[in-house]
Symmetry: C2
DNA sequence: ACCTGAACACCGTTCAAGT
DNA sequence: ACCTGAACACCGTTCAAGT
């Protein structure tokens, strides 16, 4: 069975299967041979659609970043601020009821609100695929969705009045926080086995074995606390900045 | 040459060589066979000293975490607050001159200062070995140095007056930020090739190709800005907390 | 106790061969 | 154009054999 008249594989199918495998069993479980088996095909077949395993990983990463909502930054193609970007969740096309109850003042979303919404969307896109975060954290490289994301954040901050150097730093520190929070669960990192926490060695960790059981709320709470603290701190700096002019 | 009378290998030598290899060529470059070659020994020899590659990685990770300074939290064995913990950088033993010019009030370091100093030490220990951060970010597991770190931070915050739930969240969000900042350089993630940043696609990234050249200052500045913003935000929350009592 | 070579079931990738 | 099996240089780990 060589060269079927309708192709068995496509780049999209390969990328999707790779992400499933990474999610289910970790980055280390993604081997070209294993992936091929998953797709009912022989190992070398993949190389008709992707050049190398690294290129495949890049495509997987960019597909994840593509899920991040950037609409709060206003879209460069003229779509109004706050509009859906095609991700599921937007209103159906002809839904005239449920108009915005109050659109306080047209214009760009205030930067702290935009940053907050974006950080939440960014985190949930990444946290859905924690095993691939180490790859994606290496930076945008030449991946279009990652570059679009960096462009949107930086552009919005500059237009809001942040000096370019500061805007760069804010983009960086937000990425630090979000990738760090998506990389691994804090709570789940503590073994649920109570015997690990010998009181003689770790006097304050007596309850740490309960953490794993509250995985969701602990990590969610830490992210929200950190995000709001960070935004408060940045607002303080922005006020100091605009005060003197 | 089987069973030399003085052993060729030791666990410490293996761990140190593994870390060197990971630093120099990345996590993927660490293979047991390659490591063995580096140590002038045959592959299976390693298994006389470590049970599996995973156990070896765990040991490497804990050796890195062991470099983090925890002295600002006060040490449980009675060593006074702020004393050296054995890491190079402390004063030589018999150095009576250069006494503290002003010790404002004996007692524990104020928690924002302790957190700041710890975060800086934590980050520099991790950023010295970015390739291993994904492993270490999985949480303390059963690694003694990682558990000691978690115990010290949590204990200090609770003793400073933070409710236990909040202290947990602060430990988590600080780890998010620090691991995120050590995982990869923000600046270096942007290709230095100016042609990547097509003005039609990324209208605000015209200068992004310069980022990689300022790697150190961009990342350092982002870390410091984020750290201070985070601390400001937390201080705000602590004030609100103590206000009502 | 500590090292060795041989062996097993894996890897990523190339390539000639098939349709 | 797109799939296959064979082949190459790698993996982690086990095990019997040596001293």
């Amino acid at each position: 069975m060589a060269r079927p008249r309708t192709p068995l594989l496509s780049r999209e199918r390969i990328v999707a299967a790779a992400l499933r495998l990474i999610d289910a069993e970790g980055l280390a479980a993604l081997s070209t041979r294993r992936l091929a088996t998953e797709l009912s095909v022989s190992g070398p077949s993949l190389y008709n659609h992707v050049a190398t395993k690294d290129e495949l990983l890049d495509a997987v990463v960019d597909s994840v970043i593509g899920e991040v909502d950037l609409s709060m930054f206003g879209t460069p193609d003229g779509t109004p601020d706050g509009a859906s970007d095609g991700t599921p969740g937007g209103l159906p096309d002809g839904a005239p009821d449920r108009l915005p109850t109050a659109t306080p003042h047209r214009g760009p979303t205030p930067w702290p609100d935009a940053l907050r919404d974006w950080a939440r969307s960014y985190r949930s896109a990444l946290a859905a695929h924690p095993n691939i975060v180490p790859v994606l954290a290496q930076g945008p490289g030449r991946r279009p969705n990652a570059l679009r994301l960096a462009d949107a954040v930086f552009g919005h901050l500059v237009e809001a009045g942040w000096p370019r150097g500061q805007a760069t730093r804010i983009g960086a520190l937000m990425r630090y926080f979000v990738t760090g929070s998506a990389l691994a669960s804090f709570a789940a990192g503590f073994p649920a086995d109570a015997e690990v926490y010998d009181a003689a060695d770790y006097p304050h960790l007596g309850e740490a074995h309960r953490l794993a059981g509250h995985r969701g709320t602990v990590d969610e709470g830490a992210f929200e606390t950190g995000l709001e603290a960070l935004l408060d701190g940045l607002v303080l700096r922005f006020e100091r900045l605009t005060e003197r002019s």
